[in-house]
């Protein structure tokens, strides 16, 4: 795979401009927010991201599948054999990610202008959003793991700031802290992985590490250690089992934040990172098996929880966890480009679902419980139609974007591992069910809230509906990025990314390639299954008018999944409480009786010795001279003796 390095100064300039524009937007909005007229921060913030997006499109047009742009900005760390530069690397994978980040990012910025209109923290909100876009771009553009890590931590910070955006609510602050702390656990893994890479390969540059790694023996301990540690980082960032509990709580932030950070971009950073180091992972089949296992488990686990949630954003949050699990399952199967494909289509329809949910919440003045909604179909038609299409896309309705990307992963699973295929299909049917449960409860039948709320229901302003419509179009046609071989000559995304993922091909196990008939059969099976599930949901929620019962009425398994398998309670009991008790012990005993005594004792010692030794300063000059001479003599004797 010979890669062609582009040195065109225009491209390099544009490449630098892409992350700098949101940074400039952040600085303007952050530093000058007091002097800006009200509302202008939104337009500045959206404008810089749009400008960034235009730069990305330009680069996308000029960079072919085997081209790349490499910019070494400066030599960052150079000590004793370690040489880390601050570099930017743009190749097809980066471009796909940048298109998603700036494109979807821009739409969400635009949407936020309408959504956050009455919020007192309007300028602050756009400051954080711009900062997030900057760090996210740094994450995907960095040429080595350390630059990626800056972005990785930066987006974590922005996530924290935005989850706790309404910081007057104590519960929201707790959610922000939970997200931050859980991410730290993953970040520790990532950091250790980086140390191991640096120790074994002497560099952190992606390309060099990949090349050096392909010379090692597959499945060696060191490769497994590195990949497992990196995967721990991905688990934290991408909310996989067992570190997923922060993501549903992160819904405390404003809805555009959930769409941008906790659905479309940041949580997919783990997927990006694994695809970025695909050679390392492909050479560690043991790790790949673990990724597959965790991905599949998370996918079905979160889908189960999604079935019984009543908060519209929580349903979407568990759906995100489940879909991320599906992406990791794809990575675990070695289908790296399929993982990215699903990442892209998921960014479209999940961002749309969140924005649509935001539009519903906006229309109902903050109501988030689907039990108090219903019948909104006629009142907010644009929101209804776009959300319906997004739900069809995520459910895998034939020919929509999610259908193709999900089907590709399922086809890979069918090739490699039949049980995995069955579980993933099951999980995608669950997805179809809970999504349509949401749609039917929200938009159909009659309104279940108060009359007063109903009289205030209104369609959102154009800044909110335009992003919905654009994302809706993308959710419909996003599948064109990767039409399977049955429908087109070749898989566009797969061949576009071949320069990035090609290095791992020799190390992957290849199953029997599916025949076109088999592929079509699998597709129609998945499609019909999804339709049947949707019809079942329709029967249950429209024909039979079923409503989610009170939690006291739930029994057995339903109760278990309503309470999210009691995972939060388990963590509370077995991790948080022991940690608190340990802190109490160290605070009350170790701190008070050991550390305090050592500190006070050293103070007392200095005081006492000072008080005693000062008596030597008698004022008698003769004595001083005598002491000096004695000292000299003593030094002289010591010198002679040694």
């Amino acid at each position: 795979m010979s890669e062609h390095l582009l040195n065109d100064p225009t491209l390099i300039f544009l490449g630098l401009l892409i992350p700098l524009l949101p940074l400039v937007g952040f600085l303007i909005n952050g530093l000058l927010s007091k002097f800006l007229p009200r509302g202008s921060a939104g337009w500045i913030g959206s404008g810089v991201v749009l400008a960034s997006f235009i730069c990305v499109v330009f680069i996308f047009k000029s960079v072919g599948p085997t081209d790349m742009i490499h910019i070494d900005l400066f030599n960052w760390i150079a000590v004793s054999g370690i040489d880390i530069s601050f570099g930017i690397h743009i190749d097809p994978l980066t471009i796909i990610m940048m298109l998603v980040v700036t494109g979807v990012g821009f739409l969400i910025h635009l949407y936020s202008i309408g959504y956050m209109h009455d919020d007192e923290g309007f300028n602050r909100f756009f400051t954080y959003l711009n900062l997030f876009i900057f760090f996210m771009l740094l994450l995907v553009m960095g040429s080595n793991y350390l630059v990626m890590f800056i972005g990785w931590e930066g987006v974590g910070l922005c996530s924290y700031l935005l989850i706790g955006f309404w910081f007057k609510n104590e519960a929201y602050n707790d959610a922000a802290q939970k997200a931050f702390v859980m991410n730290r656990i993953g970040d520790l893994g990532f950091l250790l992985g980086m140390f191991f890479i640096l120790f074994n390969f002497g560099t952190l540059e992606f390309n060099i590490v990949q090349k050096l790694a392909s010379g090692l023996t597959p499945d060696s301990t060191i490769l497994i250690t590195i990949t497992l540690l990196l995967f721990v980082g991905a688990i934290g960032k991408s909310a996989q089992l067992p570190l997923y509990t922060w993501l549903p709580d992160a819904m405390a932030g404003p809805t555009p934040v959930s769409a941008l950070i906790h659905a479309a971009t940041m949580v997919t950073a783990g997927v990006y990172m694994i695809v970025r180091s695909n050679v390392l992972f492909a050479m560690a089949p043991a790790t790949m098996t673990i990724i597959l296992f965790i991905g599949v488990t998370t996918s079905v686990f979160a889908a189960f929880i999604g079935l019984k949630q009543n908060d519209i954003k929580k349903i979407l949050a568990y759906s995100t966890v489940s879909q991320l699990g599906l992406m990791f399952a794809a990575l675990g199967l070695g289908a790296f480009s399929s993982g990215i494909f699903h990442l892209v289509t998921h960014a479209f329809f999940k961002a749309l679902l969140f924005l649509g949910a935001g539009s519903v919440i906006h229309a109902l003045h903050g109501e988030q419980d689907v039990r108090n909604m219903g019948g909104l179909r006629k009142l907010i038609p644009i929101t209804f139609i776009t959300m319906l299409i997004a739900s069809l896309a995520i459910a895998g309705f034939p020919l929509l974007s999610g259908f193709f990307s999900k089907d590709e992963i399922l086809a890979h699973a069918y090739e490699a591992n039949k049980p995995v295929w069955i579980i993933l299909s099951f999980s995608s049917f669950l997805t179809a069910f809970y999504m349509f449960r949401l749609i039917y409860l929200t938009f159909y039948n009659t309104f279940r809230g108060t009359e007063e709320t109903k009289s205030h229901v209104h369609e959102s302003p154009w800044t909110m509906t335009v992003p919905l419509i654009i994302l809706c179009a993308l959710s419909i046609f996003g599948g064109l990025l990767g039409l399977p071989e049955v429908f087109s000559e070749h898989h566009w995304l797969d061949s576009y990314l071949s320069g990035v993922t090609g290095g791992s091909v020799p190390f992957l196990h290849h199953g029997e390639h599916l025949s076109h008939g088999m592929e079509l059969g699998l597709m129609s099976l998945a499609g019909f299954g999804a339709i049947l599930v949707i019809l079942y949901a329709r029967n249950r929620y429209i024909k039979l008018h079923q409503l989610p019962p009170d939690e006291t009425a739930l029994k057995g398994f339903e109760k278990l999944i309503y309470h999210k398998f009691y995972v939060d309670e388990l963590y509370e009991k077995f991790i948080s409480q022991p940690v608190f008790r340990l802190s109490e012990f160290t605070g009350n005993w170790i701190d008070k009786f050991i550390i305090d005594r050592v500190v006070n004792g050293s103070g007392w010692l200095v005081d006492f010795s000072g008080r005693t030794l000062r008596l030597l300063q008698s004022g008698n000059t003769g004595f001083y001279v005598f002491a000096m001479v004695i000292g000299m003599v003593v030094l002289f004797i010591i010198r002679l003796l040694i």
Partner: protein, 106 residues
């Protein structure tokens, strides 16, 4: 080597310097008059100078002589400051006895 170096061995200079230095130290320790103490410090300095010069002459290396010039300059400055201090002290307390100078203490 000049004629003097052939007659007088280096050891004699070392012994002489040591004697001078000890006289200086004893003077500083046992005399109470500050001016005498200053003079004794000068004796110590000059004993070292003598030693430096003689080593320089016997080893044929001029470094020692250069060093001595520096010592002299520093000594001159030190005497100027020291005597000025003594003057000032005498004007204030009418004595140069160091036993009287015991006000500066804890």
């Amino acid at each position: 080597m000049g004629p003097v170096e052939q007659i007088v061995p280096l050891n004699w200079y070392i012994v002489l310097s040591t004697f001078l230095f000890c006289i200086g130290v004893m003077g500083v320790l046992f005399r109470r008059n500050a001016i005498i103490i200053l003079m004794c410090i000068e004796i110590m300095l000059n004993s070292v100078n003598l030693l430096l010069v003689s080593f320089s002459a016997y080893t044929g290396n001029s470094d020692g002589q250069v060093f001595v010039f520096f010592t002299m300059v520093v000594a001159a400055a030190e005497v100027a400051v020291g005597l000025a201090l003594m003057m000032s002290i005498y004007r204030n307390i009418g004595s140069t006895d160091i036993d009287v100078l015991n006000k500066l203490k804890w």
